[in-house]
Symmetry: C2
Subunit: 168 residues, 2 copies
């Protein structure tokens, strides 16, 4: 079973973080919640989730996958070089990277989208295209090890795809 | 694939409703959200979930399973005979019934626990025992078609068990 990094900051979209959090555990994987500091972060609606580690405390080689939820958390995380650095390293090491909704802002900030097929929340579409990606309006888009979805209603497809990619 | 009833009312525990909601869809099932009225209900933290149907609009025979999340929603639902009636009928028809945390208050109200092994949130333990159940401190307890769990951290085991019982 794999170790999976889940990136969070305040105002994460509740279900986009917590559905993968529980779903990956259900499949037997270990989810390590990584935030900028050791703290209890709060979702958009105030649901608490404590970080297990900060970026400087982990090595990307431990992980098989990295998940970026949406909400306003990516807008916060993209200003924190250590958090963005984890995304860059995840691509360098060819981890499975799952991003949903505004999570794409972290893919953009890490400059990982040139020539890639991807999707995101509709409000981020122009930024995604400007960053060099080909935008697709689909519940889940797979391009190599990159898995992207648009919004909470895509979570069943997002979850299923992540589970399949971690099993293979 | 099966049709599954998810009972809600205001102040449902966010993840105890929404994890099964997305997880069952991921497995290909159809989740029908049933509330006392046609309304958008709010979780403890304010996450919205709209009811698809009211109890009088459904027949229990449509469903293969019925899920009762926790939070303060069961305290509200137990005072509404139509909602309690659905639980009674689910037992009469031998549906898979999944209850987590304070969801057990609905099992008690429907008088379905005599001689059954079950679990619930620690604060409800005495009521569960007084209702005739044998309480077990376990992440998931299976007794016939009844599946019970204690709290959000049990969701991976709760989800996995429901999926297995719906597949068999």
């Amino acid at each position: 079973m794999a170790k999976v990094a889940l990136l969070i900051d305040n105002d994460f979209e509740d279900m986009e973080a917590l559905y993968p959090y529980y779903r990956l555990q259900e499949a037997g994987h270990t989810v390590i919640v990584i935030g900028p500091e050791h703290a209890t972060y709060r979702s958009k609606h105030g649901y608490p989730l404590r970080s297990d580690k900060t970026p400087s405390e982990v090595s990307i080689d431990e992980f098989k996958a990295l998940i970026i939820p949406g909400g306003q958390a990516p807008d916060r995380m993209r200003t924190k070089p250590e958090m963005v650095g984890l995304v860059k390293k995840a691509f360098e090491k060819n981890l499975v990277v799952g991003s949903i909704c505004h999570g794409a802002q972290m893919l953009i900030e890490a400059n990982t989208l040139k020539g890639r097929r991807a999707t995101c929340y509709i409000s981020v579409k122009t930024d995604l295209i400007n960053a060099g990606a080909m935008y697709l309006d689909s519940s889940v888009v797979i391009d190599g090890n990159l898995v992207t979805s648009r919004e909470p209603k895509d979570l069943p497809d997002f979850g299923k795809t992540l589970i399949q990619m971690l099993a293979s």
